[in-house]
């Protein structure tokens, strides 16, 4: 049954947006803030100056890259909740490479470190894929466990073997050399943002223009039909989880080489979970996920800079994301459609079906 036909898509989107804004308004009022100045501060902080735009893009990159991976998995009917761990492993690969080969020229070192980070994420994602395909372990559980395992491995390394001996005592690695750092174009566009755009295009190509994309979407919408058509489900499962992990790993590597330059315990502020919400709000499409991801990056960055002026708690972003996802599910739900139809026919004086 096509649940989407119950309520027109545009109406659903509008209702979800208005609902989310109302939740945000409640949160802002509950925090004792003035809604108008808060919104103004967030918008200023997100896009008010060239620097703000650059910060927003920087913040959007890891979330969007990870979300694109979540979207690919989602289209295959899989939930990649492991973005957080894949980001950490990706950043670990990048920082390790950059610290091992500091004397390499930039043209080699930058892509090399990015590639190692991406590969690390790929492996971390593929583990969950293999466990699902070969042993039928739910990826919902294994990806969460792999998050914690990745986090504690990184934590061990930055407290111990990789800790900067000349540092201030904080559990952080040494900073990578400038030869490994991603450039910023014209002081405005971080190169990570370009990578993010390219990745979104590649995901769009994969899903919409390749036979692999058809297999991915087919296995998500009807597993039995796909199997009947000769699609190897386990191959699709491992592939999409590896792709998801690779994109998140790239996100971690880009944030490391383009922004933070060193790895520590608190490298990711929860991008992996933001990414899940972003992909779900974007309905698993490349375009929807890309737009939502950039918007969430701007929101996060806006809130961050507004924290200085209006004390806006960063947890508001999480609340907004959760609310938006809930509104999207409700909009797509079969039962919700029935309810709307019933009340429609009632108001028109017709018998309900």
């Amino acid at each position: 049954m096509n649940a989407a036909s119950f309520i027109p898509a545009l109406t659903r989107g509008a209702v979800a947006l208005v609902g989310t804004l109302i939740v945000g308004l409640i949160a802002v009022l509950a925090a004792g803030l003035d809604p108008v100045t808060t919104l103004q501060a967030i918008i200023d902080g997100a896009v008010g100056t060239p620097y703000a735009i650059r910060q927003s893009l920087t913040e959007a990159v890891p979330v969007t890259l990870t979300a694109l991976g979540v979207a690919v998995a989602f289209r295959a009917g899989l939930f990649n909740l492991g973005g957080e761990g894949q980001i950490y492993i990706g950043a670990l690969g990048a920082v390790g490479t950059a610290l091992l080969f500091p004397e390499l020229p930039s043209v080699l070192l930058i892509p090399f470190a990015l590639a190692v980070g991406t590969f690390g994420g790929l492996v971390w994602g593929a583990i969950a894929g293999v466990l699902r395909a070969k042993l039928r372990l739910s990826e919902i559980i294994t990806t969460i466990m792999l998050n914690f395992i990745a986090f504690w491995i990184v934590s061990y390394l930055v407290h111990g073997p990789l800790k900067d001996p000349g540092g201030s005592g904080y559990p952080l690695t040494r900073e990578i050399t400038t030869s490994a750092q991603l450039p910023v174009f014209g002081d405005l566009v971080p190169s990570g943002a370009v990578l993010m755009l390219v990745a979104a295009f590649c995901v769009w190509l994969l899903l919409e223009r390749t036979s692999t994309g058809i297999r991915i979407k087919g296995s998500g919408s009807s597993a039995s039909a796909s199997r009947f058509a000769g699609v190897s489900m386990s191959r699709v499962t491992i592939l999409v989880m590896a792709v998801a992990g690779a994109l998140a790993g790239l996100g971690g590597a880009v944030s490391l080489q383009g922004d933070q330059h060193q790895l520590g315990d608190f490298f990711s502020p929860g991008w992996g979970f933001d990414a899940v919400a972003v992909a779900l709000i974007g309905r698993g499409t490349a375009t929807g996920t890309f737009i939502t991801g950039v918007a969430v990056g701007a929101l996060r960055s806006g809130i961050q800079s507004a924290q200085g002026t209006a004390e806006v708690p960063s947890s508001i972003a999480q609340i907004l994301l959760a609310a938006a996802v809930l509104f999207v599910i409700v909009g797509n739900a079969e039962g919700a459609g029935q309810m709307v139809r019933r009340s429609w026919s009632r108001t028109r004086g017709l018998a309900s079906d």
Binding site: F79, L137, S138, Y156, P313, Q318, I329, A333, A336
Partner: protein, 310 residues
């Protein structure tokens, strides 16, 4: 000089194992009801977190740990109500809803902690101390291991017995399990699928919430962001490992409690093991045990499928 042998033979290790297994067990017990009725509830983590937060808030405001329990349960039931409404009444995607609620609970609790308490940190609050069984508490080994636990431990054990009886030995339990196997057939027999699933979801919220309450009032006596630490997800694995049985959930949860207790003991001993790697152990154990057991599991047939009466 401590060595592994000393650690695994000490009564305090087993006491810690039971204590650490408790929140996982309670959440798994609740999830067993939900899944037996056909609902997948990935929002366990969020329910535990809200339970823990509500417990600390209630205990701080009223100064009574018992009121903390009530408020904690209320907060967790709130999450269960949203999950129930979306999953049962609207027929929305159960897994996505659970994921959203987990993210939402993380955000809401972090938000409220900063909004309510000065300095943005939850205070130390009155909690529950250990309950010493007369005579039995002084027994060698078992006294320390079992009979000096928090009152929650004994309550949880009773809950397990009651749940087993209710789910497996009563008509109500049979009907509830029927909803998880074939809701349409149940409906045609006049069994109120919606109502039974709502009961299961609220029981689930209550149990998971109680797990969170214990984490807060029996263990830490305060709230910290994300303090449920993935236990809601370990509980999801425990349900499968226990093959959807309330009684088997006890040894399954204990296994994880034991791993965590062992990891903590090794960490605080003079064995030269990096503490961070020990902290990863419960999560590794979850995957390993899950992988060993899952091949023989047989979930309820209608688990997680949307069912809306036409």
């Amino acid at each position: 000089m401590t060595d592994i042998f000393d650690i695994v033979t000490s009564a305090t290790l087993y006491a810690a194992a039971i204590r650490l297994a408790l929140p996982i067990f309670l959440a798994a017990l609740g999830e067993t009801f939900a899944e037996r009725s056909g609902l997948v509830n990935v929002g366990l983590e969020g329910m535990m977190l809200m339970g823990a937060f509500g417990a600390v808030l209630g205990s701080d405001v009223t100064g009574s740990a018992l009121a903390g329990v009530a408020i904690g349960l209320l907060f967790a039931l709130l999450v269960a109500a949203v999950q129930g409404f979306v999953a049962i009444n609207l027929g929305g995607d159960q897994i996505v809803c659970g994921i959203a609620l987990n993210i939402g609970a993380l955000g809401v609790t972090a938000f409220l902690v900063r909004a309510i308490w000065e300095g943005g940190n939850a205070p130390q609050v009155p909690g529950f101390s250990a309950f010493h069984f007369p005579i039995l508490a002084d027994a060698p080994f078992l006294g320390v291991a079992i009979f000096q636990q928090s009152i929650f431990v004994y309550v949880a054990f009773l809950l397990a017995l009651i749940s087993w009886w209710a789910l497996m030995k009563t008509g109500w339990g049979l009907r509830m399990r029927g909803c998880g196997e074939d809701p349409l057939a149940c409906e045609s027999l006049g069994i109120p699928v919606k109502r039974l699933r709502w009961q299961a979801m609220l029981i689930c919220g209550g149990c998971a919430g109680l797990g969170g309450v214990f984490l807060a009032l029996g263990e830490l006596l305060t709230f910290s962001d994300g303090m449920s630490g993935g236990r809601g997800f370990i509980a999801l694995a425990v349900v499968i490992i226990a093959r959807w049985s309330p009684m088997l959930a006890i040894p399954s949860a204990l296994l994880f409690g034991a791993v965590e207790a062992f990891a903590l003991r090794v960490q605080s001993s003079d064995l030269n093991v990096p503490p961070e790697l020990m902290l990863a152990l419960p999560y590794v154990a979850t995957i390993v045990v899950y992988a060993i057991v899952v091949g023989r599991s047989n979930p309820p047939a209608a688990l997680g499928r949307t069912y809306v009466r036409q």
